[in-house]
Point group: C2
Chain length 224, copies 2
């Protein structure tokens, strides 16, 4: 027989996902994928039935989503998918830009050699995606890249906020146009960010990191 894989202690970490977390992820996914329109009410009973749980976990999950800005609860009336005005979206871009700048600053201060090499690898891979014209892949890598920067910064709360605001932005269901050269341009900014982090230039990293996100906002405005 194969060796028994020591099931004394490692088993602890399993089974740690309550229904609330499950429902929370499911709801978040539905909202972010746009399967429930903005402004629409989330029917507790329907959702509970649909997900095969009772209303309790659904209600708790909704409270959780509330503080993340994805839904809004009205007493005695229900929870509604948050509707984002253009002004709201622009404000979110600004906030996210500021936090991204902070994350880049911190990363420039404290990135390890491993952090730097990882980040550089991301830029290279995004370059390859641009050459191949693979937009889908570029988006994935872009997301992972910014997450990696946030991790390298060591600023855990800021990273959480950055991620959370990123989800919130998606409430505005606009695909920012990604005309031909814009991907290459975007990645050249990534390169400048990484270069600043590599040489530990805090100011430059913060400035470029923030501007990178402001440029995203400007592209959104051009789209309209």
């Amino acid at each position: 027989m194969e060796a028994d894989q020591d099931m004394r202690k490692p088993m602890q970490k399993l089974r740690q996902r309550s229904l609330v977390l499950e429902v929370r992820d499911a709801l978040e996914g539905m909202i972010l994928r746009g399967e429930v329109p903005a402004g629409e009410r989330l029917n507790e009973i329907n959702l509970a039935e649909q997900l095969g749980v009772s209303r309790g976990p659904v209600r708790e999950a909704a409270r959780s989503l509330e503080r993340e800005g994805l839904v809004k609860t009205v007493t005695n009336q229900g929870v509604y998918v948050r509707k984002l005005s253009l002004e709201d979206a622009l404000e979110l871009y600004d906030l996210r830009a500021g936090i991204a700048g902070y994350l880049c600053t911190r990363a420039a201060e404290s990135a390890t050699p491993e952090d730097k090499s990882d980040l550089r690898a991301f830029v290279d891979r995004m370059d390859a995606a641009v050459r191949d014209g693979d937009e889908e892949r570029y988006f994935e890598l872009n997301l992972a890249f910014h997450d990696r920067v946030a991790t390298a910064s060591g600023a855990t709360r800021a990273k959480d906020l950055y991620t959370s605001l990123g989800k919130e932005v998606r409430l505005m269901r606009l695909r920012v146009l990604t005309g031909g050269a814009s991907l290459a341009l975007s990645n050249s900014e990534h390169d400048r960010i990484v270069r600043a982090i590599e040489i530990g230039d805090k100011e430059a990293a913060g400035k470029v990191g923030a501007q990178h996100h402001i440029n995203g906002k400007l592209r959104l405005l051009e789209t309209l």
Copy 2:
């Protein structure tokens, strides 16, 4: 008899506070006042009994507090009052400073004459409090002042974040020393913020507003 006060429609807005909101405020107050030590577990059953409600609302309130960063939930174990390391606190100060800068920038762009006169009045009143040596009153006014700036900015999400982070900071139960001249110094910064807003100098407002909060962080560091 006195005129009946038209109880046809105005009654609508009342009675809109569910138990969840009530419990939420109660819990938040207990945590912020330090009545439950950091790291301590919140016992659902005890709290429910103590507040005279069932566990349902308590659990929902806890989920709400979770996303605000005041508590941390561990599956099958309970919710714990979040414990803040010094690094965490410093990071919060930085984040808050950045957001405050943004709020001041926006306020400088869009403050109405009424906004400006209100803000100026706050500075004057804080000046009076400083002269009277009334620290308690100064703190209240200081809080209201920054809230007023946030409102004047028109940036609703940023204001919420600013307020939320403010509560989170209080998890670190340190009274920043307020030696004699520091209050006057602090209010002179308020004056510079308001002056920048009055003349619509965005850059100056943002810079001074952020620096004002960074100075608070520095004072915290000196306290240690």
